[in-house]
């Protein structure tokens, strides 16, 4: 493989990293509040501190609908939004929009699951001590659920690496794009191979780092 090809691979890797980084940030920004809302508005038996059945139901439905969309379809549907926000629907920057929106409902569920694992007795104690709802969320629910939250974010990042590769198929750039355009369409098996290996290594690194952080947090308790 020529130096030119290697430069191409490096650029694609950086594009993938940028897509994953920013879509993780934005999906967390969107998903975290929804996940918290889903938890605190759930019925009291499930640990909800502000039970609001109607809001909880509506939110839950929206999350489910968004989650059941195949990513490719969602991405095409979101082209107009990308165009509105970024000015184009093609390329790495434009892809961050559908990636973030596709991952947000997943993040919301992951956060919800993690927060609901917090011992209801501990939340009751915090309430009995006169905590405000915001204090319960910020000083009890999130710190108590932190190891699970870290695992959830790890899972999200790994999912987003997969999604970003798929986004390559419709002009998103990154390693997926490289693998399809060079590896598949130009029969460059070696480029395809390298792209897949890099994705594999990325996933592995994220998983190990995530597991380590989560385990450290638990060990400190």
């Amino acid at each position: 493989m020529t130096a030119q090809i290697w430069t191409l691979i490096l650029n694609s890797t950086l594009q993938t990293l940028a897509m994953v980084l920013f879509s993780t940030l934005f999906s967390l920004l969107l998903g975290l509040p929804v996940g918290i809302l889903l938890t605190v508005t759930s019925p009291e038996e499930q640990g909800g501190i502000i039970p609001l059945p109607l809001l909880n139901n509506v939110l839950s439905r929206i999350v489910n609908v968004l989650r059941s969309f195949p990513f490719i379809i969602l991405m095409i549907l979101l082209f107009p939004l990308s165009r509105l926000l970024i000015g184009t629907s093609i390329g790495t920057t434009a892809t961050i929009v559908p990636l973030s929106i596709a991952a947000a409902p997943f993040v919301a569920r992951v956060i919800e699951t993690a927060l609901k694992e917090v011992d209801p007795g501990v939340v009751q104690a915090a309430r009995a001590m006169g905590s405000t709802n915001l204090q319960i969320i910020g000083k009890v629910l999130i710190p108590e659920a932190l190891p699970s939250l870290v695992s959830g974010v790890t899972l999200t990042i790994i999912n987003l690496i997969g999604y970003s590769a798929m986004a390559g198929a419709i002009g998103g750039g990154g390693l997926g794009d490289l693998a399809i355009r060079y590896g598949y369409q130009r029969f460059r098996g070696d480029i395809m191979f390298v792209a897949v290996i890099i994705i594999l290594v990325l996933v592995e690194i994220i998983q190990v780092v995530g597991n380590t952080i989560s385990a450290r947090l638990i060990a400190r308790r």
């Binding site: 501990v122 001590m129 006169g130 905590s131 405000t132 400190r220 308790r221």
Partner: protein
């Protein structure tokens, strides 16, 4: 009306710290708390005992202001608190300490950080928090253990941290919700001693919710027995032990004196003489436990006593004896013997639970 009564009592010097008036709480068709009225005096340890399902947990959630009653009123001093809402409710909760069966400590915080939590949420300056936490750690006998992660502490130590946390904001009331139910007997004893010591030191009103009669015996001055969502019996612990009136109280006492154990052949606190439990229960109180009552009565009335099991236990400062006996003789002799026993001050009950 209620307020007037409370004011009157206040003037007479019998200050009511907590007053419950006809509390009701229903879940669906279940009347968890069905008309509970209680006066819990200040500066004392007050027990609320009941079996599971008697309505204890609901009652404690109501008086700790975690839940609102469907009907009825709750007063702390002469302030009505069951209708509080928003910031006022949160403010009031901050002056209540509470400890739990499962400790409910924050696993994400170490011992000192747990104790600091109530201070943090009330906006205490960092420098003051540090000193106060040290003070509280010393109070519960955990000096130098502040940095310990919660998972490294034993059950008793966890409950000590929980007590320190509950006391951080200088509460006037401490609720103990089955606080010793997850602890072994020795640890239970040390935690109860600590609670009593702190009660005296701080002049707290302590309310202990429990299903263990031992806890009531060892720690409480007054007790209310809860059954099926209502108060079955209420009064001084010593009175309740020497002269229980409700079936549920007698049942609690029977289990306490270890009849069950004795019947199984295990030596509990009772000395067991016979496999059968006897036809009568005699309860002796205070100085009557030191007198040769049975032989006296036996001589004058002509009956024979067959002692099946008996024992003495200490309730606060008073000794209370329980004895299971058969009384053999003619009907008149038996009636005379029972009358004589009652005259001396022995409580005689037919049958053994």
């Amino acid at each position: 009306m209620m307020v007037t009564i409370i004011r009157l009592l206040y003037i007479e010097g019998i200050f009511m710290q907590i007053a419950l008036h006809n509390l009701q709480r229903t879940y669906g068709s279940l009347h968890a708390v069905n008309g509970v009225s209680l006066f819990i005096p200040s500066n004392t340890v007050y027990g609320i005992i009941g079996k599971s399902g008697a309505g204890k947990s609901t009652l404690v959630r109501l008086i700790s202001l975690l839940e609102k009653p469907d009907d009825g009123e709750i007063y702390f001093d002469d302030e009505r608190v069951d209708e509080l809402d928003g910031d006022v409710l949160i403010e009031r909760r901050r002056r209540i300490g509470m400890i739990f069966q499962n400790f409910n400590l924050f696993s994400s915080r170490n011992a000192a950080q747990n104790i600091a939590y109530p201070l943090e949420i009330t906006g205490t300056p960092k420098a003051r928090i540090k000193g106060r936490v040290e003070e509280l750690l010393a109070l519960v006998g955990l000096e130098g253990r502040g940095k310990a992660p919660i998972s490294t502490l034993s059950g008793g130590q966890k409950q000590r941290v929980a007590i320190a946390r509950a006391l951080a904001c200088n509460p006037d009331i401490l609720f103990c919700d089955e606080a010793t139910s997850a602890l072994d007997p020795q640890t239970t004893h040390s935690i109860l001693s600590l609670i009593k010591e702190i009660q005296e030191k701080m002049g707290l009103t302590v309310v202990m919710i429990t299903h263990q009669m031992e806890v009531v015996r060892d720690a409480c001055k007054h007790v209310a027995v809860l059954d099926d969502g209502v108060v079955a019996e209420e009064g001084l612990v010593t009175d309740l032990f020497s002269n229980p009136s409700s079936e549920v109280t007698k049942d609690f006492l029977t289990h306490l004196v270890g009849v069950d154990e004795a019947a199984k052949g295990n030596n509990g606190q009772m000395v067991q003489w016979s496999k059968k439990r006897g036809a009568y229960t005699l309860r002796f109180r205070g100085d009557t436990t030191d007198q040769p009552i049975l032989s006296m009565v036996s001589r004058t009335s002509g009956v024979d006593f067959n002692i099946r099991a008996s024992g003495v236990q200490r309730v606060g400062d008073v000794e209370i004896g329980t004895m299971f006996v058969d009384i053999n003789g003619s009907d008149e002799q038996r009636t005379a013997a029972i009358a004589q026993l009652r005259e001396i001050g022995v409580v005689v009950e037919e049958g053994v639970l």
